[in-house]
């Protein structure tokens, strides 16, 4: 996402041609990113192709004495530029390089369509026949030598997940990089040529039904698929909570209490225990069980609450969440979820695959809104971003809701989610009906289930975490800083005094909760923390949790929305948000 890298990504190879660019091209879901992570090491960057919203990965591999740039070109089925990803793929290819065409060996016919289109470009090229180990289980025999002859380029069988064939692939790339590029294929009847090649090199045997086929059947038939989907999502949710809580309780809290607390306490003493700088950095002392102590959750200093919110509370959840999401992605479950939910999502004016940004947003709204870029039309992006910012609680917010309502019982937590879900569908329906644009239908490949690669999972997780730290962490610190400063001016008490009576009559909440909701604009999790000392009843906590979730997203989300949607759409979303929050608050006060 950084500009310099994006520029580097599209620059052509060195003038003398000594360090070629390696372009990984292939259909989606063929294990291209696993090949990418095998070829490259650390230092992978995710960039946007200039002027587009299509992202691609860029890394480097050892190449003779130096390092060659490796670009993971967006997955594409053809080169006819029928969608933004294809368009970008074409443009990257226009700049030249060595093509590594990653092909799914279990699905040769469809994959070779792209291969033949690539061969019309006359660039040096190697075909990686990936998922080679799978062909045996599936009774597929491929004559690799003959395929190579017919295509006129080297063909290397690989099983990237296991790391098999990668060395040969690298050798083949080096081989073609410095030799005469193969003659470009004449553009002709691709399908006819494809038919002859397949006939000659591929032999299919009858095969038995494997457990994987059974699982695939289960997950796509509506009768079994829908319960399976609910089960999968619940499992994912429970796993995220389990890992998140485990990291917090057994790693982060002990670290903070035993290692960081003495440092902060010493600093507090050095600063004299009071004063402007002290309150900014360390925060104020709170009284817990009669003792006057510093508390990471309540002291509100940059080095206490600021650090703890980021590393002690939010990061564990975000890490667990991205790990589980990456796993579901790499296994290949997400397209099935998109298929199952397509109908429901259409009612909200979205496509089935909008579930991916929405799922991401459950970790943190910021990457969720960034991921709406995968959606085709502007209108879909607006709807998805609005739905995310209004109704999808991020991991941090959920963690706080759990902490706050957990002691009162699970039913209250479910109530919060239930209310949010209702609001969400009402809002989505309204959004769909207010726009009469044509929503194109899906054409979506449902890939086979795949064994995930730990390497790729790790690479993806660390990239997403880096993004989270870059985008969200500075804002949390800024948030705590601003809250501190405003708090010192007494402005919050003013807000509470002015808005307080209204809170009571309209929503049945104590006046002080106005303060928490105002702070919620900066940081939701911090705001919910402010509700803790108010001694609210369970129902009041439910109400204020819902209100907090519905009103302004945190400032980081807001900044991203502004950047992605522009200020007119952001204002529209804000208006909707206010109306929805007000209406829901009134309705809750009336019903609950």
């Amino acid at each position: 996402m950084t500009d310099e890298r994006a520029d580097a990504g599209v620059a052509s190879s060195d003038d003398d041609g000594r360090m070629p660019r390696v372009l990984l091209v292939g259909n989606p879901n063929v294990g291209k990113s696993v090949v990418f992570s095998r070829l490259t090491g650390v230092g992978t960057m995710c960039s946007n192709y200039p002027g587009t919203t299509v992202e691609f990965l860029e890394g480097s591999m050892r190449f003779g004495d130096g390092r060659a740039t490796v670009i993971d070109v967006p997955g594409t089925y053809g080169l006819s530029a029928t969608c933004p990803a294809e368009d970008v793929a074409c443009k990257i290819l226009d700049d030249g390089g060595v093509i590594v065409n990653v092909v799914d060996a279990t699905n040769l016919e469809r994959n070779l369509a792209l291969t033949l289109q690539l061969r019309q470009r006359g660039l040096p090229m190697v075909v990686a026949l990936n998922l080679w180990d799978e062909t045996r289980h599936r009774g597929i025999q491929i004559d690799v030598e003959r395929l190579s002859e017919l295509l006129g380029v080297p063909v290397v069988p690989t099983s990237a997940v296991a790391g098999v064939g990668i060395k040969d692939l690298v050798a083949a790339v080096k081989g073609v990089a410095y030799s005469e590029p193969p003659e470009a294929l004449e553009p002709g009847d691709v399908w006819c040529r494809l038919g002859t090649i397949i006939e000659e090199v591929q032999h299919l045997e009858d095969r038995r039904h494997t457990w994987r086929d059974v699982l695939e059947d289960i997950s796509i038939k509506p009768i079994t698929g829908i319960p399976f989907g609910i089960f999968a999502l619940l499992t994912a949710f429970v796993t995220v909570r389990f890992f998140g809580e485990t990291i917090i309780t057994y790693v982060m809290e002990p670290l903070f209490e035993t290692l960081w607390m003495p440092v902060v306490t010493a600093l507090s003493e050095a600063l004299g225990g009071t004063g402007f700088i002290h309150n900014l950095l360390v925060g104020s002392y709170v009284v817990i069980d009669g003792a006057r102590v510093l508390d990471f959750a309540q002291s509100f200093g940059l080095l206490t609450t600021g650090l703890f919110v980021v590393f002690g509370m939010v990061m564990p959840y975000v890490t667990a969440f991205y790990f589980v999401l990456g796993l579901m992605e790499d296994i290949g479950y997400l397209p099935r979820l998109a298929l199952l939910l397509d109908r429901v999502m259409h009612r909200l004016g979205l496509h089935g695959y909008a579930v991916i940004p929405i799922l991401l947003a459950f970790g943190c709204n910021v990457p969720g809104i960034l991921a709406t870029r995968v959606l085709d039309t502007r209108r879909e992006r607006f709807i998805a971003a609005t739905l995310i910012s209004v109704g999808v609680p991020c991991a941090a917010l959920q963690a706080m809701i759990f902490a706050l309502l957990g002691p009162h019982g699970v039913q209250y937590i479910l109530l919060v989610y239930g209310i949010l879900a209702i609001v969400w569908f009402v809002l989505g329906t309204v959004l769909r009906m207010t726009s009469r644009d044509f929503l194109p239908e899906i054409i979506l490949e449902i890939p086979s289930y795949r064994r995930p690669s730990l390497r790729t999972l790790w690479q993806k997780l660390s990239m997403r975490l880096r993004g989270f730290f870059r985008e969200a962490v500075p804002v949390v610190f800024l948030g705590v800083l601003v809250i501190d400063l405003i708090y010192m001016t007494g402005a919050f008490e003013l807000i509470a005094r002015l808005a307080g009576p209204m809170m009571d009559t309209l929503f049945g909440l104590p006046p002080e909760s106005a303060l928490a909701i105002a702070v919620g604009f900066l940081r939701k999790d911090v705001a919910i923390g402010m509700l803790a000392p108010l001694n609210l009843s369970a129902i009041q906590l439910v109400k204020s949790s819902v209100m907090l979730a519905l009103t302004f997203p945190c400032i980081a989300t807001y900044a991203v929305m502004l950047r992605e949607l522009g200020w007119i759409d952001t204002l529209k979303a804000t208006g909707l948000m206010l109306v929805i929050a007000l209406a829901t608050g009134l309705a809750m006060n009336f019903v609950l």
Partner: protein, 90 residues
């Protein structure tokens, strides 16, 4: 069986040969690149309820298609053999 039917009206497990794809050049290109083109054998696997997408298998690829798109693909049905699990090539 029925001549001149479309992909959307096939039953679960029913096999058919694609005859033609009506619609824009872009949609044709997208379907072709997925392997759905005239002369190819497709098997309908399942359909989501209440007008949701249908899922077909074609040349080893599973593709989900919106019901409206599936209305635009003319097919000639060749019977319901795939439901029993035997796989043969066209």
């Amino acid at each position: 069986m029925v001549q001149g039917s479309v992909l959307a009206t096939l039953g679960d497990g029913e096999r058919a040969v694609i005859e033609s794809v009506q619609g824009g050049v872009q949609m044709q290109a997208r379907l072709e690149n997925m392997g759905l083109r005239p002369g190819k054998m497709v098997t309908r696997l399942s359909a989501m309820p209440s007008g949701g997408p249908i899922m077909v298998e074609c040349g080893g690829t599973r593709v989900a298609l919106g019901r409206g798109i599936a209305q635009h693909v003319s097919v000639r049905s060749v019977g319901a053999s795939a439901a029993t699990g035997t796989e043969s090539n066209e």
